[in-house]
Symmetry: C2
Subunit: 346 residues, 2 copies
């Protein structure tokens, strides 16, 4: 039998543990997996593009577990009452192929993306960072805000979105978080001014320029989350030239990240190298660091491991049957016979 | 909300409709999709190999729907009480990325593989075929038997398996099918002798030689189902030289099929070309035809469409939440707030 987690189930886990413990826990799982980067079977995700968006599959595996995520990106969805990003995925045993967990990953993606951003920023941003600009106040923004608040100690958010309603929603959602001040600005440039970290998390599937080089100040860390598929960018190319650029999995980021604007030999450093101490992160307080994040399958692997353990600990989730429980596994036909009304079975 | 179908749900559909109607229905969906082959976004499946087996993702899409299947192949599983092949997958809307159906595909894979075999045989085997050898009497064998009985009019099965228990199970499962005679043989060669169609559906992940050229008789159709991943074959190379070879999707079959033994320029014909009339199938009653089947994502696309329609017609399946139902889709955080106990929500 396979455990099934719905979005409400994952929300229940978050409510039970509280966001602080959730982000700390997920960051632990992420870090332990990033530190053993070489053990993973890695590939760029398999994308299917259409006029309105993209649908992707993101598989990875170590020697024990195989995971994949199904995820879409359709920026026009909110107009139809649907989420821009919807996701689900599974964790299976490599040795038998048995799926142990199938879970929603819509809410989970927001959690794991924010935890990954915080993990990178903890390694790359100035340790005394307290002010963060948050440009793009959509579905993922509160999660970024809370992860940076709890993991990095960010106490002031400068927020901006082209949609003022999105910003009001973020302000309302974060109003009751103790020790976190939210200040609204009328432009990305004003929001970025005088901050330590700039997080861009916008949804438009276009070559957008959310951040230009004139907004970048010495010592800033840029956490670019929203430029994550071909034809979708957030940073002006000059921002990428303002300091060392760090990525999750280079072959994927070259295609999908803000990096897609740069020549193929533009130097980048994979984050795991910094986390393992093989490469330098930030080299001075005045240096600008850039994390060009696109989201990598390894992060969903960590998130699915975390979900499985959390669901087991809290006793949350349904049990479903994606393969029959058969006394003789070679007798698959028995499942059809068993479903027939008794009189037809002879 | 997304519809979820378990293995019991799919078995219920089969029991309600009966296998004859199931195979006829699935064959219709398969044929209509094969006939519009050019409209699909096609790629070879993404495989992750380990010492004990393989886990694969098989995505495809037309302009309306996207589907994928997760499927494993672990020949040692029955010893651990697990099925060799377990599968599940989803059907989603291309326009929004919304997953409409998540379903078990373990039982469904056996159904769609048998329906595809029958579809190919209807186009390639001699119309007067009545006797079929069925070599490999494991989990998929009864489904092959019934699809060929109902679609092709096969009335006599010559069965053989290295595991005599598997053969006894098949005999028992098919004992009550009117008009279908099952005859047991002690070797593949004896089973194949004097038949019109030879179906090989064995599970060993090895370069096996189930069928050799001396067993092939004039006019036979070879339905080779079990040689379906790198390092796993069933036919001696000379069998592939005995007549024209037909495949589902050439780039995938070159890597996975019995074809992997042949030089890269060994000529094959894709099945859709025969079905659309662009290529000849069988050219004479004495010709040997070979269908080197590996299973292609398009077949799961058809099967998932069929499942969705059948589940809706019979009112079968649960409704699950893989993305939250939000009044404001940009307010994903609301799902976390809603899960908190009332006193914590302010």
């Amino acid at each position: 039998m396979t455990t099934l987690l719905s979005t409400s189930d994952v929300a229940k886990i978050v409510a039970l543990q509280g966001p602080q413990q959730v982000f700390a826990g997920m960051l632990d799982y992420l870090l332990s997996d990033f530190l053993r980067w070489q053990e993973f079977d890695k590939s760029a995700r398999v994308a299917s593009h259409s006029a309105t968006g993209v649908i992707e599959l993101m598989p990875t595996a170590d020697s024990d577990y195989y995971t994949f995520k199904y995820v879409n990106g359709h920026p026009g969805n909110p107009l139809a009452g649907l989420s821009t990003v919807m996701a689900f995925g599974a964790l299976a045993q490599v040795g038998t192929g048995e799926p142990l967990l199938i879970s929603e990953l819509t809410l989970t993606t927001a959690l794991r993306t924010a935890a990954t951003s915080a993990l990178a920023a903890r390694a790359l941003a100035r340790p005394d960072s307290r002010k963060m600009a948050l440009i793009g106040n959509g579905a993922q923004s509160e999660f970024q805000a809370l992860a940076f608040h709890y993991i990095l100690g960010i106490d002031t958010l400068h927020v901006y979105d082209v949609d003022a309603g999105a910003t009001r929603k973020l302000e309302s959602n974060l109003a009751s978080v103790p020790g976190l001040r939210v200040v609204r600005f009328d432009s990305a440039a004003e929001a970025a001014k005088d901050t330590d970290i700039v997080t861009t998390v916008t949804a438009d599937k276009a070559y957008a320029t959310i951040l230009t080089a004139d907004m970048v100040e010495p010592g800033m860390h840029i956490n670019a989350v929203g430029g994550d598929c071909p034809g979708k960018t957030e940073l002006h190319a000059d921002v990428l030239r303002a300091g060392p650029v760090f990525v999750e999995y280079e072959p994927q980021t070259r295609i999908e990240g803000d990096l897609q604007q740069m020549p193929a030999d533009f130097a980048v450093t994979e984050l795991w190298r910094v986390l393992t101490g093989q490469s330098a992160g930030r080299k001075s307080a005045a240096e600008v660091t850039i994390f060009d994040s696109v989201g990598f399958a390894l992060e969903d692997f960590s998130a699915l491991r975390w979900l499985r353990d959390a669901a087991a600990r809290h006793g949350i989730g349904a049990r479903i049957e994606v393969a029959p429980q058969l006394p003789d596994p070679k007798n698959l036909f028995d499942v059809v016979r068993a479903a027939q009304p008794a009189h037809a079975r002879a």
